[in-house]
Symmetry: C2
Subunit: 256 residues, 2 copies
Amino acid sequence: MTTEASISCTSTILTPAGNSEVEEQLAIETPYTISLNEIEIGASMVLPVGLEEFGVGFLFGQGYLSDPKEVKEVIVCPEGKISVYADVDEDVAPKDVIITSGCGGTGKIPRDMLEGKIDAPLETSLSFADISVFIRTVLHRSTLGPMTHCVHGCGIWSEGKVAAFYEDVGRHNAVDKIMGAILLGKASPRGAVYTTGRLTSDMVLKCARMRIPIVMSRTAPSTLGLAIAQRAGITLAAYARPERLNVFCNPNRISN
Amino acid sequence: MTTEASISCTSTILTPAGNSEVEEQLAIETPYTISLNEIEIGASMVLPVGLEEFGVGFLFGQGYLSDPKEVKEVIVCPEGKISVYADVDEDVAPKDVIITSGCGGTGKIPRDMLEGKIDAPLETSLSFADISVFIRTVLHRSTLGPMTHCVHGCGIWSEGKVAAFYEDVGRHNAVDKIMGAILLGKASPRGAVYTTGRLTSDMVLKCARMRIPIVMSRTAPSTLGLAIAQRAGITLAAYARPERLNVFCNPNRISN
């Protein structure tokens, strides 16, 4: 079986007792170049699904885009190019960038974003009934995850439903796709993000810059991920399960 | 408890039935700038352990270093700078880079490395007795992994033992530290790498450029990770366990 995002492949299981063959599904990792108003900004490895959202979210992560009103058009060329056209000044490249620690893709963040002022998040509250539906829906939609063991998923809950969900070989790319979906008007940022990946600095920073009030992960934050959440006033929840959250700051947005 | 690589932190466990407090250990993620012969090459988020190895391995990953004989001195400044001095031409910056998909740090690879010629790997063979000791030793040494759930580990087996092992918030950084250990003469590349992280393109490419013959992961490869292993003639093994390997190419180096 081959899907738009995975390829079937034979592998050999070796054990001391003997060998056997098995079919495996591999997640597709392929390079895409992202341009803004015909100027090439960068190239990234990506799972080739949700590429319009990825292109816009990538440019948001790098500091080129910040508002849905800026984005005019996105054209994806399957040979490996995402062209974003936006009403912004594309020659303001970040000068001093830090390469990110995390699994995922955008790869670098401008240092001034890490240290600069962050606007307060939008306000919302989330009940355990919502959290349960959110996490179960995301895990149910994640077909590629259990099939390839090589992708992370990321979803956003807003206006009482899972408004968007994406997978990618990079946990950062999956977050970028959510940011792109918001900038393309497909989801509201007034809600909660859930990721299967770890919450390192760049993961949390992107959510903070988008003013998303609640950020949840199936697993752990790093020290810098937590520090950014504290500075931004975000609710940061780790080890998120349908009936259990491990909240590191601002638990007040979670209700019973 | 606070270690050189983790910080203790109180978090609140929320459930529909009520709240409680718990102590958690968070992995430290902090930015370090890497310079080569006093010229700043980049900055990366990193777990502050094995920083000499990381600085050297980072420069290897970016294409600035390739041979142990080149490295002259490494000075780590705890305020956030790794200064590498080497007998190389530091102004040959890669022109056309691709941001990597993966969890970890080096963040970008020159496009010509992805497409260019790769030298054949060194030759070795590995028995299941070795594999069992290798994987059990690495998992036993990974203290930060089970404590923080926020790091990946990477080890190299050569000359009949685990010659080096590192952890990092980024799976790529942990591989970079192994590459640095090899370039600093602490381990031979004629052996096998085991990582707890996924084998995306940059993970495999670094091992291929170092001519490491066997690359194993606790989890899965991506399509491009496998393609590079095939092109380089590397043995690529996924879902590696003490008595079971799922080998995608070149199984001949594994013996019973």
